[in-house]
């Protein structure tokens, strides 16, 4: 039931900052007052300005009030190179004023009057107050300051104007005004050895849920970009995961035979092996089975699209042509200091955008290197895998083994094997001075498979499985040997005994 002129619904004010509205489940709430806090240089002013410019672009009006902050001219100079900056928005859509002289001469009451007047004069539906700490310092008491915050809230609500209050602060500090405002958004800038990681966290958001925890943040020519933490953003897959008891070809005939038809569709599988064993070649053959009806994505860290296409061409795969026709998308993220969640979103976006049915990730090590918190990698892979599976794609991720040759087989992250629905292992073994390649299926959930070791070669047209590897023992040691023949009538030899 509603009375005339009132609407009990909470209306969203999208920030239009990439990723932030996802964290806020749609945006800020109209008429709410939100603290944005962070150390100097964290990105508060850029974020607030970006929200203002975006607001004006969506036909809103905004007022930006500074207290003891950088001059408007300097601030705008710094913002000019950013993509969101639009000079034509100033001053009709976005109006900058200073409130410090008013604060000095008329106190907090004067600032309230100023805010009320300017909201009305400019028909502002968004107001930014930069330099909140200055008002706190001017308050005669904590009570007076709380009254000030309360008055801002009242004016915001009655004028339907959303207010962002920028303040310096750091994680862990809880100021009394936090209990009064409708939300608190924190921007942090943390050092991890030589790397710096910027994050955004919503500490409070009245009237709505939000994605919890830290979300990666980048400041670039685009302005602020937020990459919602994959584990939070896709805690429940975005679409229903429908299980299909179907097979999907690996692109390698011999491996399909070992799998009794192929990988199970819509599963996440690992391809584990040492450097040079043929993992990337396998990946190229896997995506070569993509088509317009069933597109594929090759996501790699190590080889550029041109190099991959050239390599594929030597295998008789027209990857460049498939790319041009939209059957395959190649995403190359040269190994460096990536944001792990950005990588995850790139993969998910590509799979969703293309309706991809195949995804090859080359390789797991690139994801691990990107993580400033390596301990979250298995949760990340698990949630990422769930989402990609629900979107209908079958994933193969290459995992490099530390040992090039030998008995040890240790996956790089604890718990990884349980996340994988399939695991194909490539190995080297040495026989009579010759290094030979072996392949075996270690695991395929919900399916039978050939459990034996098979030899394979990388031939003209890619991986060829040549047959079961027999007639030797101690293969998994990395140094196989031909067992000594047992003469007829004699018992088994003592182990280790040589003639």
């Amino acid at each position: 039931m509603s009375s005339a002129g009132s609407d009990l619904g909470l209306h969203r004010v999208p920030t239009a900052v990439e990723g932030l509205d996802r964290v806020l489940l749609g945006g800020l709430l109209r008429g709410g007052v939100y603290i944005v806090e962070g150390a100097p240089g964290a990105g508060k002013t850029v974020l607030a300005n970006q929200i203002c410019f975006n607001h004006v672009a969506r036909h809103g009006c905004a007022v930006f009030v500074t207290l003891l902050a950088e001059s408007h001219a300097r601030m705008l100079q710094h913002l000019q190179p950013m993509e969101f900056y639009n000079e034509s928005a100033i001053p009709d859509g976005l109006y900058y004023i200073s409130g410090f002289t008013t604060l000095e001469s008329e106190g907090l009451k004067g600032v309230i009057d100023l805010l009320r007047r300017e909201i009305k004069a400019h028909h502002a539906s968004l107001l930014v107050l930069d330099g909140f700490a200055t008002t706190e310092e001017s308050a005669g008491s904590k009570r007076e300051f709380k009254k000030f915050v309360h008055e801002i809230q009242t004016h915001a609500a009655v004028s339907d104007c959303t207010v962002l209050v920028l303040t310096n602060g750091s994680a862990g500090e809880i100021s009394p005004e936090y209990t009064m405002v409708d939300g608190v958004i924190e921007i942090n800038d943390t050092q991890f050895a030589p790397r710096t990681a910027r994050t955004l966290r919503v500490r409070k958001f009245r009237g709505s849920g939000f994605l919890p925890g830290d979300h990666a943040l980048r400041i670039s020519a685009k302005g602020i970009e937020i990459f919602p933490r994959i584990e939070a953003a896709f805690a429940t897959p975005s679409v229903r995961d429908v299980f299909h008891l179907q097979r999907q070809s690996t692109g390698v005939e011999g491996v399909d035979a070992l799998l009794h038809g192929g990988l199970m569709a819509r599963t996440t599988n690992g391809l584990y092996g040492p450097t040079g064993a043929g993992k990337t070649t396998f990946g190229l053959q896997f995506v070569s089975r993509s088509s317009a009806a069933e597109p594929g994505v090759f996501f790699g860290f190590f080889e550029s699209p041109d190099r991959l296409c050239a390599r594929a061409s030597t295998l008789g795969i027209d990857l460049a042509g498939m790319q041009a026709r939209g059957e395959v998308e190649i995403i190359w993220c040269p190994q460096g200091e990536h944001i792990l969640d950005e990588l995850g979103h790139k993969m998910i976006d590509a799979v969703r955008r293309r309706g991809a049915r195949r995804l090859f990730i080359d390789g797991y090590g690139g994801l691990v290197e990107s993580a400033v918190h390596p301990e979250r990698i298995t949760r990340f892979v698990s949630v990422l895998g769930n989402e990609i599976r629900a979107l209908g794609a079958t994933t193969v991720v290459s995992i490099e083994s530390r040992n090039i040759i030998g008995a040890s087989m240790e996956l790089p992250s604890q718990g990884l094997s349980s996340l994988l629905e399939g695991l194909i292992v490539m190995r080297y073994t040495e026989v009579d001075g010759e290094v030979r390649r072996l392949l075996s299926i270690t695991k395929i959930r919900d399916s039978s498979f050939d459990p034996f070791l098979h030899e394979f070669k990388i031939a003209e047209r890619g991986i060829e499985v040549t047959g079961r590897f027999s007639g030797v023992e101690a293969v998994l040691s990395g140094s196989a040997r031909v067992p000594k023949a047992v003469p007829a009538g004699e018992g088994p030899q003592e182990s280790g005994k040589r003639e």
């Binding site: 500074t66 001059s71 408007h72 001219a73 300097r74 705008l76 100079q77 000079e87 034509s88 100033i90 001053p91 009709d92 109006y95 900058y96 004023i97 200073s98 409130g99 410090f100 002289t101 008013t102 000095e104 001469s105 100023l114 007047r117 300017e118």
Partner: protein, 127 residues
């Protein structure tokens, strides 16, 4: 001694402008918004107004428009300054003598002041 009225809500910039102009021998009075600027006009009768464009309560264009409508103040020259582009200012008011886009170097402002007040440029003044 010539009197200059500086009208700007950014106190830091006002302090700097006052210091530079007083060092050049001008008497400087200030206002933090357009309404206060109009009050100071009547009180102080300046020879020149240097005004910001975006200000609370009454902006520079509103103040300048009222100045031009007042016989007592209509001939006082105005230097308009703003972080906004000149095109935005001109949409609201065109009757200024000079425009400076913030941030600007102080010598540029001083040159404009001298030119408008008909004074010799600093370089050509007898030492």
């Amino acid at each position: 001694m010539r009197t200059i009225l500086v009208v700007d809500d950014e106190f830091g910039l006002v302090d700097v402008l006052v210091a530079f102009l007083e060092a050049e021998g001008y008497r400087v009075v200030t206002g933090a918004n357009g309404r206060r600027g109009l009050e100071r006009l009547t009180e102080q009768k300046p020879d020149l107004v240097i005004s910001d464009f975006m200000m609370p309560l009454m902006d520079g264009a509103q103040m300048a428009t009222q100045m031009r409508a007042d016989p007592e103040h209509r001939d006082i020259p105005i230097i308009m300054m703003s972080a906004a582009p000149e095109s935005a200012v001109r949409k609201r008011f065109e009757g200024y003598q000079a425009f400076l886009r913030k941030p600007f170097p102080m010598p540029a402002l001083l040159d404009q002041v001298r030119e408008i007040l008909g004074e010799q440029p600093a370089a050509s003044r007898p030492k």
